[in-house]
């Protein structure tokens, strides 16, 4: 079994999830509450990774962060390193690719919170942030948990974007799915099977835990 790839994949998925929570909570809240007439544009952009082939997304990302792009040049000037084919570049790609899997459940969960409870909290002197943390988040927790698990699971399973942006560097950008693909290409079915079984077991376990937790959350 390719433990280096497994370690890398779990680190990538965990970090991606953290970043997605930080970006996704405010974005999801805004999408749930905003009445801005052009909001659908933002919704469409967020949902793009759901319909685009990973190669297309990967291609544009590669162009956007390459050494000749402004973003790539800025990153190189600040850190002295290149974004493509690095762990950081892979993280950026994962965040964009898994964005809808976090934001959409978050937005749905927030939209399900009775807005009068928020207004009641304001009338009791609580700021918008306090209200968000004490009323909105606890009441939306089932949907928030779904978004977090989906982000993690989706990042663990990504393949096309990783190949396009990350390449196949052991310990840096070679994730589990790429590793399995390599083993199969090398006709190394036993190794591929072991890693695949591990991934299957992990995914199943994570989903079981989530649904079990949610069931209890809902019954409470």
């Amino acid at each position: 079994m390719d433990w280096t790839a497994i370690d890398l994949t779990l680190r990538l998925a965990a970090l991606t999830t953290v970043v997605l929570v930080l970006i996704g909570l405010p974005l999801g809240y805004w999408l749930a509450r905003s009445t801005w007439r052009w909001k659908f544009l933002v919704e469409a952009v967020v949902a793009l990774p759901l319909v685009l082939p990973p190669t297309v997304l990967g291609f544009y990302l590669l162009m956007a962060i390459g050494p000749r792009s402004p973003v790539g040049q800025l990153y190189e000037a600040v850190t002295g390193q290149l974004l493509p084919f690095s762990f950081q570049g892979l993280l950026l790609a994962s965040v964009l690719y898994s964005l809808p899997f976090a934001v959409r459940p978050f937005a749905a969960a927030f939209a399900g919170v009775d807005w009068r409870l928020v207004e009641a909290s304001w009338c009791l002197g609580k700021s918008r942030l306090q209200t968000f943390l004490r009323i909105v988040v606890p009441l939306a927790r089932a949907g928030l948990l779904t978004g977090i698990v989906l982000s993690f699971a989706h990042t663990v399973g990504e393949f096309g974007v990783v190949l396009m942006v990350g390449g196949n560097i052991p310990g840096v950008t070679r994730t589990v799915s790429v590793s399995i693909y390599d083993e199969v290409q090398a006709l190394n079915y036993a190794a591929a099977g072991e890693t695949a079984l591990f991934l299957l077991g992990l995914s199943f376990a994570v989903l079981c835990v989530t649904y079990a937790l949610q069931r209890r959350v809902v019954v409470l």
Binding site: D114, E119, S121, W122, K126
Partner: protein, 366 residues
């Protein structure tokens, strides 16, 4: 120094009427102001604008010297900073917090001992003891309403805004809370603005009424004055009652109450336990007019009086009479002609006891 809540603003909704509010109420003296009107009259919108939950499109709202809202100066104080307690129509209790947690929610800046003291005080006042550890959905409607009230009161708001406080309750609970609510408000001495479309609720709870229709203020003034003498037909129609007079219950015997309206005694059905101050409500169409000697009648109330005003309303004629108190009757045009009723003429008004509706007042202002 102005110590009034003064509001003069407009709120527009796409596809709805423009809501224009004009309101002046004292901030330093207790009174219950009722915003009264049919649904769609804009009363809840006005309450939400006062709370800061809705931003008017024009005008201003001032609390004493403090500007809560001023369109011209771009001032909009958020709800957190208005010190208003708001009671939502279906209470909006936080479902993930227990009763004590709900009541305590707005008290976080205070020291722990003070918080505990206030929660205990309110549990006591609103008869919620023993329910502290329950979740909202484990409570009856009446209990939820009291928890919501306790939560709004815990922060000692400078004004209490109640949106249809009794409408979500079943009838028996509503009757009970209607009797209890006013004494609580009187005890707490917090100026209150209340929205309702129920005239019994308005009369039982209010001191001052603002009558609204289609986003406009039609009339405002002391409650029994407005209900007793509506400024025009539109107001009378909205209020849906013709004679409203303050009265005192003298005694109740065999389910019949005798009440004094000025110098006149009336007999009415006593619903529930009645004592002290009440309002007497009589619909004009329930008043029968006789002229000359009256034969034996089953009507319990026989009132001698004179016709003051006589106005035609389609096939009906509305009579304003003085029977020791102002009484309105509605008769057909034919009846009016047959009896040859004229202004200044003496007549006898007959009202059956069940046609006199008594609205108990929890407690009077002194």
């Amino acid at each position: 120094m102005s110590a009034d809540l003064r509001a003069d603003f407009e709120k527009r909704f796409a596809g709805g009427p423009v809501i224009r509010a004009h309101l002046v109420r004292p901030t330093d003296a207790f009174s219950v102001t009722v915003l009264f009107g049919p649904s769609g009259s804009g009363k809840t919108t006005i309450l939400r604008c006062l709370a800061g939950l809705e931003r008017p499109d024009a005008g201003w709202i001032r609390w004493g010297e403090e500007a809560w809202f001023d369109a011209a100066q771009g001032i909009f104080l958020p709800p957190q900073r208005r010190g208003a307690g708001y009671l939502f129509q279906d209470y909006a209790l936080f479902p993930h917090m227990r009763v004590a947690g709900n009541i305590r929610y707005g008290l976080t800046p205070l020291p722990r001992a003070e918080r505990r003291r206030r929660v205990a005080e309110l549990l006591d006042l609103l008869q919620l003891k023993g329910l502290e550890q329950r979740y909202p959905k484990q409570l009856s409607g009446g209990q939820q309403q009291r928890v919501a009230l306790a939560r709004a009161l815990a922060r000692r708001p400078q004004v209490l805004l109640l949106d249809e406080p009794l409408s979500a309750l079943d009838a028996p609970t509503r009757d009970q809370l209607r009797r209890e609510l006013r004494p609580w408000l009187v005890d707490l001495k917090i100026p209150t603005i209340l929205v309702t479309h129920d005239r019994v609720e308005a009369l039982a709870l209010g001191d001052h009424v603002v009558v609204l229709d289609q986003g406009r203020v039609l009339q405002s003034g002391p409650i029994h004055e407005v209900f007793g003498r509506p400024g025009n037909v539109a107001v009378a129609r909205i209020l849906g009652v013709d004679t409203v007079e303050a009265a005192r219950v003298l005694h109740v015997v065999d389910g019949l109450a005798t009440v004094a309206v000025g110098p006149v005694h009336l007999v009415a059905l006593a619903e529930g336990s009645l004592k002290g101050d009440v309002y007497v409500c009589i619909h004009a169409e329930d008043v029968i007019i006789e002229k000359g000697a009256v034969a034996a009648t089953s009507a319990r109330n026989r009132l001698d009086g004179s016709i003051r005003t006589l106005s035609r309303e389609g096939a009906m004629v509305r009579l304003g009479m003085d029977c020791g108190f102002p009484l309105t009757a509605l008769v057909t045009k034919q009846a009016c002609e047959e009896l040859d009723l004229q202004e200044g003429e003496r007549v006898t008004a007959l009202v059956k006891a069940p046609a006199i509706h008594l609205v108990p007042r929890g407690s009077h202002l002194t």
